[in-house]
Amino acid sequence: MVDIACFVETYNFLERNEAEALEQFKSVATELGHSFEFISKRNLPQIPLYDALFIRATTDPSYTAYVASKIAWENKIAVLDDPYSIRICSNKIHMYKLLEKSGVPYIPSLYLSKDCLTEKKINEIFQQLGRPVVLKAPYTSFSKYVEKTESNYGFRKICKRFFRRSDMIVAQKFVPTQFDWRLGILDDEILYACKYFIPKGRWKHGTRIRGRDRMVWGRTKTIPRIDTPNRLREVGVSACKAIGAGLFGVDLKEVNGDFLVVEVNDNPSIYAGEEDQKDHDIYRRIIQYLVQS
C-alpha cells in the first residue's frame, strides 16, 4: 500500500467538476489499495511522512505548491508535478527556449526586454510577427496576462504593465483558430485529448469579462486519444520530452495541416465530465504512475 498525499487549496473544490475529479482520484487510489489524503498548506511538515505527492493546487515557483513539491523532491518522494517541471512550465521563455533547442515546432515568438519599447523596435516586431501580436508575461496561468494588440500604442501600454512582473516578456504571432488542441500527456504517453473551443467573438479559450473579475471559458470537446492525428501526438509528445517527465497539458494549434505548440503546462486541469469523458482510465494511470515512480 502506498500513502499518497494530494496537495490542494480551497479553490480546488469550488468548481463541482474539479471537486468530482479529485474524489475520483481518491476512490481509484482506494480501489487500488492505496491511501489518498488531501493535504493543504497547513500540512507541509507532514509531506515526508507520505510515499507520494500529487499536486493539484496551482503551481508556480512563488506559490506554496512549489514548496510542497520541493519538500517531496528533496525527501526522495515521488511527486507530480516535480519542481523542475514547475520551474520550466511556469516561465514561458524557459519553456519556449527548450522547445526551440529540441526542434519542436511552436508559435513564432520573440523575447522582449525593456529596451524593445522604442518606435523602431516595435515596428520591427510587427513586421516580423504581423499585426496583431499576442503579448504574454512569462508567469501566467489560466490565460491571464495574455493580451492581443495591433497598435504601437497598445503594444507599449501592455508591455509596460507586463514588465512590472518580469524583466522579459514574450511577443507571439497571432494564429487565429476555432479551437486549440489540448493533449494530456503522462510519462510521454497520451492520456486524453480535447478541443478547447474559443468563445464566440473572442480570441482565446479563457477570457475575462470586461470590467468584471470573472472568466468566460469556451466549451470543451473530448476526443478519444486513439482518434487523434498521428502528427498531433508526435508533436505533443516531443514537446513534453523537451521539458521533462511527468504530467503535462500541451496546447497546440492546427495550422495548414501541421501542429504548432502554444504552450506546455504542468499541473493540467482535470475536470470530471471533461478531460475524462472519453478515456476513463486517466485517474487510474496517474495513480499508478505515482505508485510506481
Binding site: 511538515p45 512563488s62 506559490y63 512549489y66 514548496v67 519538500i71 521563455i93
Partner: protein, 186 residues
Amino acid sequence: MKIGYYVSMHAEIMGNAVIPTCQDILDAYKTPILLLRAMKRGMCISPHIVSDNVKDIEFEIDLPMLIFPLNPFSNGGYKVVHSEGSLYRAVRSLGMNGKYPVCAEYLLGSLETTRSLFGNGENPLLQDLAKEVYAEFRLPVFQLLAQIVEGQPYLCNVMPVHPEELTASDLKILSKRVEDAERQFG
C-alpha cells in the same frame, strides 16, 4: 523575474556553466527550502515549522520567534515576535490573511547578519556559515541572517542584496571576479 534569472536560464539552456543556477536562485529565497537543503548539507539550522495556523505554530515553537513570509510579493522581510498578539498579526500580514503559510523559527540566541560576496562575509561570527551557504547555493552576493546559540551560528534565512546596497568596494570585488572568469574561460 529579474534579468539575472534570464541570464542564468540562457546559460543553462546553452549548456554553459553558470552560477547561480535557476534552481538555486529559487530555492535559496524560499526559507523552508533553504533550510531543508542546508540541513541536508549538514549546516546547523533553526528549528522551524511552516504553517498558516497560529495555534499550530504556537504548539511547535515557543516565543520569541522569527516569522518569514512565503507569499510571492515578499521582498526578504521578516518579523521578530515576542507575544501571542504580535504572532497573530505577523502571520496575518506576512501570510496575506491566510492565503499563504509562513515559516516560523525558534529565536533562541542573538541575531547576526552578514553580507556575503562569493562566500566571504564581513561578520567573523558568520564567516564559516557564509562559505557553507555559498558552497550549496552558489549565490555570488547574498545577505545572511543567523542566530548565535552558545557560540554556534544557526542559519535563519538568506535574502537578496539589491544593487543600490552594494558599496564601491563590493563592486570592485565583483568586477575582479568577472575579469578573472573572463580570463579563465575566454
